[in-house]
Amino acid sequence: MSKTENTHIKLVQHENEFSHLRQTLNFRRIWVVFVLITSGFAIVPVVFFALIDYNVTKYSVEHEAVLRTSRLASNTWRSVSFFLNQRKSALVFTTLENSFTDLTDPEKLSRILKNLQKGFGDFTDIGVINDKGVQVAYEGPHDLKGKDYSGQEWFHNVLAEGIYISDVFLGFRDLPHLAIAIKHHLPDGSFYVLRATLEHQLNSMLSQEENADGRDIFLINTKGFLQTPSRYFGSVLDKISIPVPEFAAHTNAMEVRLSQADVLIVAYAHIPETRFILMAAQPKNMLMAPWRKSRKDLTLYLSISITFILIWIVIAVSYMVKRLKISDQKRLGYLHMLEYSNKLATIGRLAAGIAHEINNPLAIINEKAGLVKDLFTFKPEYKSDPKLIQIVDAITDSVARCSRITRRLLSFARHMDVSIQSINLKEVIREVLSFMEKEAEYRSIIVDIQVPDDIPEFDTDRGKLQQILLNIVNNAFAALSDGGRLELKAEILNNDSVRIICSDNGCGIPESDIDHIFEPFYSTKAKTGAGTGLGLSITYGLVKELGGEIDVSSKVNQGTSFAITLPLKFEGDTKAHPNLKKEGKPDESVAG
């Protein structure tokens, strides 16, 4: 009794051991996590480097834009300075070449003007102003002789600085003019001022530089009035919309925002000895255009590579998770098989124990009954009573039946161990069917065994083959209605394998189920609580273990046929199963 309890406890322990292993993983979650993490690790560096590249290029292109504008500004600044310097030098040369008397001589002055016009072409008039500020000589289109300039600001500037270049003004014919005045000291300590008006060519000079799209080069004075027309800030003498930059001897650059979209890069420099500021403006958009194009390419390239990376990751992770799922399912399958075989082993041990315990009392019954029979046989007074002998014979027959049952139980228990031995197929089939004899009789099921005698003995695991056949026949019995027919056939295939076909004319398997019947826990009986859904999956596993194949074909209401193909030569890997041992002698050697 205690043995039974022990095994029961063991069984429960086994179930507890396995229950924690039975949890399946959440594959959707794993998929999402894997995709997220992998994408993160793959994409973050790419984006990071793309951003760095973006910023570095942006900075250098911007820098380059500023440099280009500054270069433009300083080039033009040099031209303008040279232009003004040239005119100034011409006047200085005139004062040095001619004496005050010569200059105040209208005829001579007229000739000087003409020579200057011939040499430079843009002088419109020339005048000499004495130290009182009165114009003592004048040559030009206006009659300005005797005009007193002493109160005017430019005259004071000339006195203070020795040179004065006026802002641009519109002279006659509405052309932009500017005046240059220089102070010349005489040997006696007095001085005079030579003043000339130029119809200057700065406009054309600056516009020559504006050959590229969007460039704008112009002059402003220190008060912010345009001296030459500007593309962005208006025409001559308009006030510019931006604040006048502070004095800078060298070229400086700044950004000017005209509107939300238009940003100008403006480089500027003060022209020495004047109140002019040269400004060169270029729209940032245009300067940045090549960079913008490369940025577009970069973004395109980046998005394409990210797309590819993502696609790859999704494919790889899906594949991996699928494999994981398959192996997990396999693991579960093996677990169930293990559990099942554990249970079977326990049942086997139990059966062995019970059979052994029962055999002793059976032996006593047998002997007592035999003794009774002996008494009747040897004593003449009972000999004439055939009824008593019949009763005793019935008892001994029953004992013999009981002992057959216990022997079968023992043989079942013995076959729990894995062992390869030579078996006779017909014998095994008969053994298995002997388990089902009573049921077949009850339900008047006809069992037809057609196993030809020429099937040789072959090496395989007897217990496993028995279990396979038992499961299949059991299944067939479940599908059969009373009075059905079960056929068991065997044939040799290609001289190297044997095929066992078990066909019934029972209810059949629906097409939707037939693909799943070998899956663990797939049961049509499960709904009614009759099956575990493990039988066929275990059968499948066992057939595979024996190196065989199992196929099923079925038609609803016509019947099902299972075909098991087993190799005649067992080639199982004995190393893979440590408990697998070759056992040459069949068990029957001690049965006598």
Binding site: N359, L362, I364, G370, L371
Partner: protein, 142 residues
């Protein structure tokens, strides 16, 4: 000639019934439920066959078999068991048991085996006697 048999089994009912049946078949049966007592009996008397249960609470049948065989290798021992396995059978045969029968036994089979055992023993005893006589013949000269 009636066969002399010793029965050793822990089941008293079994022994009583079996010995009575064997006696009614003309055998001379001694029996005991204790293997130790059985060993003592074997020391004192000689038997044609010893029927020995494999599984007893006091002592394992195989151990008893070993001891008996050490003392007297000529004794014919038939083992009885409720649980025959290949290993047990092979072990018993190696130790010199004559046969191994599964319970419940068929009285006819058992009788048959006992008769065979007796015959074997007779042969062995005859051989020994022959040897003895030969020894006497060769050693003592008239």
């Amino acid at each position: 000639m009636s066969e002399k048999v010793l029965l050793i089994d822990d089941e008293k009912d079994f022994i009583e019934a079996l010995s009575e049946r064997m006696e009614s078949r003309g055998m001379k049966v001694s029996s005991t439920v204790s293997p130790k007592e059985g060993l003592e009996i074997v020391d004192k008397e000689t038997f044609d066959a010893i029927i020995l249960d494999l599984k007893m609470p006091e002592m394992n049948g195989l151990e008893v078999l070993k001891i008996i065989k050490e003392k007297n290798p000529d004794l014919q021992i038939i083992l009885l068991t409720g649980h025959a396995t290949v290993e047990k059978g092979i072990e018993a045969m190696k130790l010199g048991a004559m046969d191994l029968l599964e319970k419940p036994i068929d009285i006819a089979t058992l009788t048959d085996k006992i008769k065979k055992a007796q015959a074997r023993k007779m042969i062995l005893v005859e051989k020994k006697t022959e040897e003895k006589i030969r020894k006497i013949i060769t050693s003592k000269s008239w």
